[in-house]
Symmetry: D2
Subunit: 192 residues, 4 copies
Amino acid sequence: MSIVGTPDPQDPDDSVVQPGAGDAGWLTEKQLDEARRHLPMVYVEALPVRIDDAGRVVQVGLLLRVSDTDSMTRTIVSGRVRFGESVRDALARHLENDIGPIAFPQLPLSIVPQAVGEYFPVPTNASDLFDGRQHAVSLAFVVPVTGTCQPRTDALELTWLSPAELRSPRVQADLEGNRGVLIERLLAAVGA
Amino acid sequence: MSIVGTPDPQDPDDSVVQPGAGDAGWLTEKQLDEARRHLPMVYVEALPVRIDDAGRVVQVGLLLRVSDTDSMTRTIVSGRVRFGESVRDALARHLENDIGPIAFPQLPLSIVPQAVGEYFPVPTNASDLFDGRQHAVSLAFVVPVTGTCQPRTDALELTWLSPAELRSPRVQADLEGNRGVLIERLLAAVGA
Amino acid sequence: MSIVGTPDPQDPDDSVVQPGAGDAGWLTEKQLDEARRHLPMVYVEALPVRIDDAGRVVQVGLLLRVSDTDSMTRTIVSGRVRFGESVRDALARHLENDIGPIAFPQLPLSIVPQAVGEYFPVPTNASDLFDGRQHAVSLAFVVPVTGTCQPRTDALELTWLSPAELRSPRVQADLEGNRGVLIERLLAAVGA
Amino acid sequence: MSIVGTPDPQDPDDSVVQPGAGDAGWLTEKQLDEARRHLPMVYVEALPVRIDDAGRVVQVGLLLRVSDTDSMTRTIVSGRVRFGESVRDALARHLENDIGPIAFPQLPLSIVPQAVGEYFPVPTNASDLFDGRQHAVSLAFVVPVTGTCQPRTDALELTWLSPAELRSPRVQADLEGNRGVLIERLLAAVGA
């Protein structure tokens, strides 16, 4: 089992001190780092997909990133739910951060996720997923997008693959750690 | 418990002899009536909804129909899956039949339904739903529509209600039999 | 894509004339064969599993059968829903038929299935599954069993495999056609 | 909308300093209070139910508690997921805390919940639920129990009600805040 760097290695929202941190409920970067060692974090994750007229998933979007160790990895949309933020708002925010403002994602009808990811800071029998930085519980969704995806900041590009291409060993090897397990559960949930 | 007339009292597709019936897998009206007394029918049902930008259900669409006994009843999109027809195609066909060609429904990502309806020809403890005409098992979905709904043929109009209005005793009394139970399960599945 | 013989090649309940057939809603074998060429059949399917104390799936049960062509195939619990029979009752009946009366299955809390199988009599783009004998729509469930499984009639034995063993190419090749696709969706639905 | 005191007003596990707090990942009571004002907490919730042989929910278990303001309130099993603890383990721990060691709960096959509760410290349009003490995201499950329930510590008793009794205005008024909304979603998810 390889290592999942983190679900959101360079989340721009976490790397700066929030306005009014401390007062308004936001944490400074240092406080957040401290909290990550003591409390499970609430995350949302989204697998962008293209669908046909009948609603079937035909393509899956993976983000290409340069990891901390300068290797190329593929991942999905992922990020933390802030204090006071709803699951829907967090999902919308991270989708916009990761695939841009004109992707036109169809947000899920229900906040009951299609898969739940449990990331532990050390490998464990309780989950296939881990994340050296923190314990995170993520609500993961399949999200159809109809617009144009423009990855921002830390992601180099978004690549569209068929479900069959996604399952090829070459792509699986590029996926951050066991993230492929979570993606497989998401695809299975929609019959793709 | 009042009586559910039928999920599709005047389905135009069932009331005519299909081209090539017998040869191509279609049944005549008489054969279909006979079959309804011996085999459970596969149905699809759809609750049309309007959603906001965040994906939350804000309005629910109910069809107004004149029943066989000349009373006004409210119902949802509903119809039989034909021989050789996929669940997705049946859903698309009945949506077009019931709310018109420019409703632009968002078909579900998965054919795993949000609720399952069991309609029995006689009341039973096994289900809250029944249908004097047949035993039907329906796969029921919440379906967002973004276009204009134009009910056809036998439905007089489609009325948009808030979830709260839908739950009012007056509207519940107009719903075909215990169809309100199924609608409640569909709304609960999307947290509305 | 190989051929799925049928979800229930030798269902003992279908191969005899029902008592009072015609009167009580049952069909004779010949009438049922005729109906299978004209109407989609309602099916239930169940993947028997062993779980640990925490509810995790640790083993999956596959039935070993001799197919019509004398080859050995593996399959899951599967069978038709009869006229007037509830989904729960059909599930309980086919579980008892296929794995015996002392398997003590935990029937699902909800009749909303964990996966839906669409079997068509000819291969189609609409589904990965097909069944030369009929068009069937199956509600498929993961069913924990705590007792002893005693396969009956046409199944030679029930074999317990870990999810990893199940995914081995050797076992996948023994599965009736693309039934492995459905099993994968069921396992993904429970995170196994 | 009335106020949800907290999902776990007197969680015994939170009200004492954990062994090795700070070192081993646990927080002191004061640190936890501080964290609750800055980060969403991960919660699990469970609705204990009695089921019949066919898997249908026949009774629902509600805990009777004396709230901080000395009024009697009804609630369900609820509690925080600790750092490093899996969703399954947290669920098992809070079930044992709240309904005792011989309730023999059937833990869910999947950690994908049947409902998700979003509790905010101030009322908001984003959710029907709130909790003056914190922002919590809860994974909520329907959990059949087959043994004897012995509520501990702060709960006076566990009362079994039919789904119809649960929906009576008298019982709904006793439920902590809008917890009834979450229970309704859980019951709808299992068709009860």
